[in-house]
C-alpha cells in the first residue's frame, strides 16, 4: 500500500518534471503555471473548508494583496524579487489574523457574506488607491524573478518555480493534516462542543488555518506578479474567489490532491471551452462557454457530491493510528 502510493507520487513528480521538456508551446506552459498558482491558493482554502470547516469567498483578495505587495516592494522600494516573494505573503497573513477573530465567529452564510464583503472591499481598494496601486490600469515594470544568476524569464523556467512551490505546499499540508492537529480538525468538524469540552481552543485553531490559507494565497499572488510582470485589479475580483471555492469543492473536501485536481479542471475546462465552443457553435457568443461550464459542474455535483477525489473510506484511513502499532516494540 505504502509502496504503491510512493510509486504513484514518484510518477507524478517525473511527469511534472518532464512536462516542460515535452511541451514546447508557451501557451500550454502558461496554462500549467496558472494551474500551479491556483492549486497553491486552493490548498490553503482546502485546509480552511475541508479541515477547519470554514468557508471563505474572499480568497482572491489575499491573492491580490500578495501580488500587489510583491509588486510594490519590487518596483517602488527596489527590493530583490526573491525577498519580495517571501515577505509579500506576510501582509495578507497579518490581515487574516486581524479580521479572523471577529469573522470566524460567524457561521455558514454569515461567514460567506463577511468574507465576500472583505473581498469586495480589497478589490475596490486596489482600484481606488491609485497612488499606491496604480488604480484600474495597474502596476507595470515588475522585474523578473531571479535566484542568484538564474533569471526566470520564460514560461518553461517559471513552470518549475511554481510547481516547486506547489510541491512544498503539498508537503506541508500532508504534514499538517496527518498530524494530531489534522485529527483534531476532524474532531472539531464532527462535534465542536465535544472538542471544546476536552479543552481544545477551536477558535484559535480555525484562526491559524485562516492565516495559513491567507499566507498561501499571498505566496501564489507574489509568484503571479513576477511571472506576468504587470498587474491590474481585474484578476483579483469576486469571480476568482468563487473559482477558488469551486476548485476545492470539485476536487474533494478534506483530500490532499483534491485542490490540485480541482485547479486543473477549472483552468483546463475554461481554456478548453474557450476553444471548443466557437468550433462547435460558430455563431455562439462568450456566454455559451459559461452555460457549458455550469452544466458540467452541476453534473459533477450530482454524481460526486463530495468531490472527484472523495472515497467514502478515505477520511478514516488518512491518519489511522493503527499504523503506529507496527512500530510499538
Amino acid at each position: 500500500m505504502g509502496f504503491k502510493k510512493n510509486l504513484l507520487l514518484f510518477a507524478v513528480v517525473i511527469f511534472v518534471f518532464c512536462l516542460p521538456i515535452v511541451v514546447e508551446s508557451s501557451y500550454y506552459m502558461s496554462i500549467f503555471i496558472v494551474i500551479g498558482l491556483y492549486a497553491i491558493v486552493a490548498q490553503g482554502l482546502g485546509l480552511l473548508m475541508g479541515w477547519a470547516g470554514q468557508v471563505s469567498f474572499g480568497q482572491a483578495a489575499f491573492y491580490g494583496l500578495g501580488a500587489y505587495t510583491a509588486a510594490i516592494l519590487a518596483t517602488r522600494c527596489q527590493w530583490p524579487p526573491l525577498l519580495c516573494v517571501f515577505v509579500a505573503p506576510l501582509l495578507p497573513s497579518v490581515i487574516a489574523f486581524i479580521i479572523g477573530r471577529p469573522i470566524l465567529k460567524l457561521r455558514q452564510h454569515y461567514l460567506v457574506l463577511a468574507t465576500l464583503g472583505f473581498g469586495i472591499f480589497v478589490f475596490v481598494m486596489l482600484k481606488d488607491l491609485g497612488a499606491l496601486t496604480g488604480g484600474p490600469s495597474g502596476l507595470t515594470g515588475i522585474p523578473y524573478l531571479n535566484i542568484g544568476s538564474i533569471i526566470f524569464m520564460t514560461d518553461h523556467q517559471y513552470f518549475y518555480l511554481v510547481w516547486c512551490a506547489l510541491g512544498l505546499t503539498l508537503f506541508c499540508m500532508a504534514n499538517l493534516t496527518r498530524s494530531p492537529i489534522g485529527r483534531v480538525f476532524k474532531a472539531i468538524h464532527s462535534s465542536e462542543r465535544a472538542a471544546e469540552a476536552v479543552g481544545i481552543d477551536t477558535a484559535s485553531l480555525k484562526l491559524q488555518a485562516f492565516v495559513l490559507s491567507a499566507f498561501l494565497a499571498g505566496l501564489a499572488g507574489a509568484l503571479y506578479a513576477f511571472w506576468v510582470t504587470f498587474i491590474s485589479p481585474s484578476p483579483f475580483g469576486f469571480t476568482t474567489s468563487v473559482e477558488f471555492a469551486l476548485m476545492v469543492v470539485v476536487g474533494g473536501l478534506g483530500t490532499l490532491w483534491g485542490p490540485v485536481l480541482g485547479a486543473a479542471i477549472i483552468v483546463g475546462l475554461t481554456e478548453f471551452l474557450r476553444w471548443a465552443v466557437p468550433v462547435a457553435l460558430p455563431h455562439a457568443g462568450g456566454e455559451f462557454e459559461i452555460i457549458f461550464f455550469g452544466i458540467i459542474f452541476v453534473l459533477i455535483m450530482l454524481f460526486r457530491p463530495k468531490g472527484l477525489l472523495s472515497i467514502e473510506k478515505s477520511s478514516m484511513a488518512v491518519n489511522n493510528p493503527a499504523t503506529l502499532r507496527s512500530t510499538d516494540a
Binding site: 506541508c172 504534514n175 499538517l176 464532527s190 462535534s191 476536552v198 479543552g199 499504523t323 503506529l324
Partner: protein, 255 residues
Amino acid sequence: MLEIKELTKSFGGLIAVNRVSLKAREGGILALIGPNGAGKTTIFNLITGVSQPDEGAIFFQGRRINRLLPFQIAALGISRTFQNLELFTNLTVVENVMVGAYRKSRAGFWKSVFRRPGATKEDRLLYQEALGLLDQLGLTLYADEPAGNLPFGQQRLLEIARALAARPKILLLDEPAAGLNPNESRELAVFLRGLVNQGYSLILVEHDMETVMSLADEVVVMNFGTVIASGEPGEVQQNTEVIAAYLGEEEEEAC
C-alpha cells in the same frame, strides 16, 4: 472543590434553574437526580461554560469560572460527557480518546506544518495511553472501529474514556448508565468507584436509582429547576417531597 452559589438561568419565560446552590467535595461522588426537565443538564451546561447563568456564581478550587470559555474551563480540569452523545463519529474509537488527550500534547499548528507526521514519540505515547484507557472501560476490542459503529451503551463508555483522557480533576457524567444492561451498570459503578479511589471527584446525573443509591456519597434532588432535597442517599430516599416528585412523574408518563 466545585461550588455553585445561587445559580439562576432562564430560557425565555421558562426558569430552568432557580437559585440552585450545591457543593461537590473533593474525592466524592455527588449525584444530581430529578424528573426530566428538572434542570440537571442545564446545570452541567452552566458549569462547563456552554451557557451563561443569569445570576449566581460558580467556583472551582476557589476560583470563579463562570465567565470563562468552555475550553478554558475544561483546561482547568473539568471534563464532561454528554447526555445526547457527542462522539467524533468520523474518527475511530482510539482516535476519539487521543483527541481527548490533545490539550496535554505539545503538537502546535505551525510545528506540525514542517514536521513529518506519524512516528513522533509523543503520538505513540498518546496512542498507548489511549489504549490503556480503552482497556479500563472494556473497549479494547473496538479500538480501530469508527466510533459511530459502537453499540449505544459502549458509546457512553467511550465518552467517559475521552473525558478521562483530558486528565480532569472533576468529571461530570450525564446519564452514564443509560443504555447499559444491569450487569454493565454494575461494572460501571465499580469502575467509577475506582476513579474516586484514584483521586477523581465526580458529579453525576442519573436516572438509574440503583446506580445512584449504591454509588453516591451525596444526592441532590431537583424538580422544576429548584433543589427540593439533599443529603446522603438513605436520607433522601425517605423524603416525602422527593417521593411525591417521582410519583408525579410516573403519573404523567402513564397518561
